[in-house]
Amino acid sequence: MSSPNRLRVAQIVFAKDLRIERRSKVLTSQIMPFAVVTLVLFAFALDGDVILQRTAPGLVWLAMLFSSMIIVQRSFAVETADGALDALRVAGADMSAVFLGKWLALVVQLLLLELVLLVGAVVMYGIELRGSGIVLLVTSSISATCGLSAVSTIYAGLASGVRGRESLLPLLVLPVASPVLIGATRAAEASFGTGGTVTSEGWPWLGVLSVFAVVFGFGGSLAFGPLIDD
């Protein structure tokens, strides 16, 4: 019996998280509808086709931010429901690998959510995808999602370990994730051409988002274990 290496552990945790999500269908049956409802509510609140089209990227990413809080709390509720996180610690599992697995599973779920929100925005807000902006849109969305997922996973680990303090999660994550919101929205605007922006204006934002994702992905893998430890 040999101890599996870090990547293998991450893969096992990743597969487990996605399998649980596939079975329980929380993402598809609860959170995606919630996100779409949010888009509808924005339309009620803002009341105007022009303004909706202009602010569409921002609204999509706001809906993403709020939904991600719910998804990541669910991801850790699964662990704490039957003491699995403690069991993982007792099993001596490499915590940075556990972080990696949960992080990537969250990225996959958030990317799926983004797709749904994008379709929703195209349908409801009337934005148009430009061929020249596709690459920017895809790359910025992926790096933004990676950064957001990393920060959310780190702090959700912290919040889940403390009884009755899950409500701390938004306070911790949202300020830290503000560069992601700013960057993802500006990059999306540049790729759609909203407000007369040109695609090339979006590339600096890809830089911000990528650095953010790397910093918190790396920092998270180091911080996760000590952070949830007793």
Binding site: I154, L158, V162, R163, R165, L168, L171, L172, P175, V176, S178, P179, I182, G183, R186, E201, P204, W205, V208, V211, F212, V215, F216, G219, A223, P226, L227, D229, D230
Partner: protein, 255 residues
Amino acid sequence: MTIDTPTSTTASTRGTSTPATRVLGILTIAMTLWLGVFGLLLSPADRDQGDAVRIMYVHVPSVWLAYLAFIVTALASGVHLFGKRHSLQADRVAGASAEIGVVFMAVTLVTGMLWGRITWGVYWQWDARLTTTALLFISYVGYLAVRGLEGSREQRARRSAIVGLLAVLEVPLVHWSVKLWRSLHQEATVLGTDLDVSLDGLMLFSLFVGVVAFTLLFVWLLLHRSRMLTMIDLSAESGLDRALAQRRAEGGASI
């Protein structure tokens, strides 16, 4: 578990003052008075803004000291986390510094709002400095919330240190993204609503006096607050001894 008291312990059991802090306190008061004289009387009013510019002498040093406080928090967090002894003293310094930093941030935000209101009639404009400050203010309020979570002393210290270091990691990222964001909005610079003024010699000197005064204030507050936290830890430790005795007695009584 040793409570890790500093070797130069507070001299008096009645308070956190020492001869050193008294001297420091007097210096601070002196510098603040000097700042008042220069800021309110001797330095000139601005061409465009008039006397309203004098708020700058509080606003700008305040923001610099807030950043200094958060750097101290980050360094102390690092010392706690990576030092061999996992010094609780470092953790206390990190906590005290963050508390003071949050206060300085609040002062920055309030004076910034006042300045904007008086000069331009608006409490808030999304200029880079105010926005970054507001975000960091909330981040460090979150840090203080984490410090207050339940757990053993070591666990709380370790958790706070990690969150403190993560918070400082995001400072350049927030700064970068907000600055880039505001640079897109040309209107701000055309209307000149940025809270920056060109500084001549005497104004610059007054600002310098302000920074020195605030730095002394910060050190004074830091020393006192850290010592207070040490005393809180010490009393918790002796509280533990009492709790142990009580617990054992309860056990004996039930046999």
